[in-house]
């Protein structure tokens, strides 16, 4: 067989390297799909807390899968066992793969030991969504909060994750903050590991 360049033929599918996959997806396609997801869930529920919970559950499934995939693809088969490790993993690697850039900031809460916040000036899922006044404090960032919860839960750091709007002066739209509150056992284990 004569060929200008021969692609290496893998006899066994297990020996193929893990492909990088398509790096980019059409933004408008995603915005359309996400708006349909929100609208579909809106027809199924009566109140906004139920709607937020459904979006979070959808995100949880994404988070659980993203954790396994990124660990093999980007981190060269090393698990995260420490709190700061998994937080910086979420803040940089997960954000980079999902949104194309690292998150704006990662902060530790001042009032409680177990609270951490990831902030983003313009969260992708909130970019094209306007919340009507009668929906109150509903935040579509609940989807991203679900993704973060899926990643943390899968790695063994159970936490309650919520999304909040934080108004900032100088910015037209409020900043979105993902608030992570770890369960008691996580802090105990961290203290034990030293």
């Amino acid at each position: 067989m004569i060929g200008a360049g021969k692609i290496k033929q893998y006899s066994n599918i297990l020996e193929k390297p893990l492909s990088k996959g398509k790096q980019e997806v059409s933004l408008s396609a995603f915005a359309f799909l996400f708006s349909e997801l929100v609208q579909y869930n809106q027809t199924q529920v009566d109140n906004i807390s139920e709607l937020e919970r459904r979006l979070e559950d959808a995100g949880y499934a994404v988070g659980a899968r993203v954790l396994e995939l990124l660990c093999h693809r980007d981190k060269g088969n090393r698990r995260e066992t420490r709190l700061l490790g998994i937080l910086s993993f979420v803040h940089s690697t997960v954000w980079k793969v999902l949104f194309g850039k690292v998150a704006d900031s990662l902060e530790k809460g001042t009032e409680h030991e177990d609270e951490y916040m990831i902030s983003e000036k313009d969260l992708l899922v909130n970019k094209f969504i306007s919340v009507p006044k009668d929906m109150g404090t509903f935040n579509c960032g609940a989807f991203v909060a679900g993704i973060v919860r899926g990643v943390l839960d899968g790695a063994g750091f159970p936490a309650v994750v919520t999304a909040h709007f934080v108004p900032m002066e100088g910015l037209q739209r409020p900043r979105t903050t993902i608030l992570i509150k770890f369960a008691e056992e996580v802090l105990q284990r961290e203290a034990r590991l030293g």
Binding site: R79, T81, G154
Partner: protein, 89 residues
């Protein structure tokens, strides 16, 4: 030479997902139960050990007579537990 190995995939909530016996020896009923018992005993050891290291493959974490247990832990704490005979190494 008889060589058996037992392979179990366990989810993060300690629920076995997959189980397989590999080997050339004739299957004995009592041996199968013993193998399962060993693997379940290894679960406790794995769960403690998994938090001490960020490596994924933990080799030979437990021994029982001449049976060696090794485990591969994924990021989502799914355990691939493998038990071999010692002289197989």
């Amino acid at each position: 030479m008889t060589s058996t190995a037992c392979f179990i995939i366990v989810s993060r909530n300690d629920i076995p997902i997959y189980e397989a016996e590999v080997g050339s020896a004739a299957k004995r009923e009592d041996a199968a139960q013993l193998h399962q018992f060993i693997l379940h005993a290894a679960l406790d050891i794995v769960q403690d050990l998994a938090w001490t290291t960020s490596a994924m493959f933990l080799k030979a974490i437990d021994r029982f007579n001449d049976l060696v247990v090794s485990v591969y832990v994924t990021a989502g704490h799914i355990l691939y537990i493998y038990r071999t005979d010692l002289h197989m190494s």
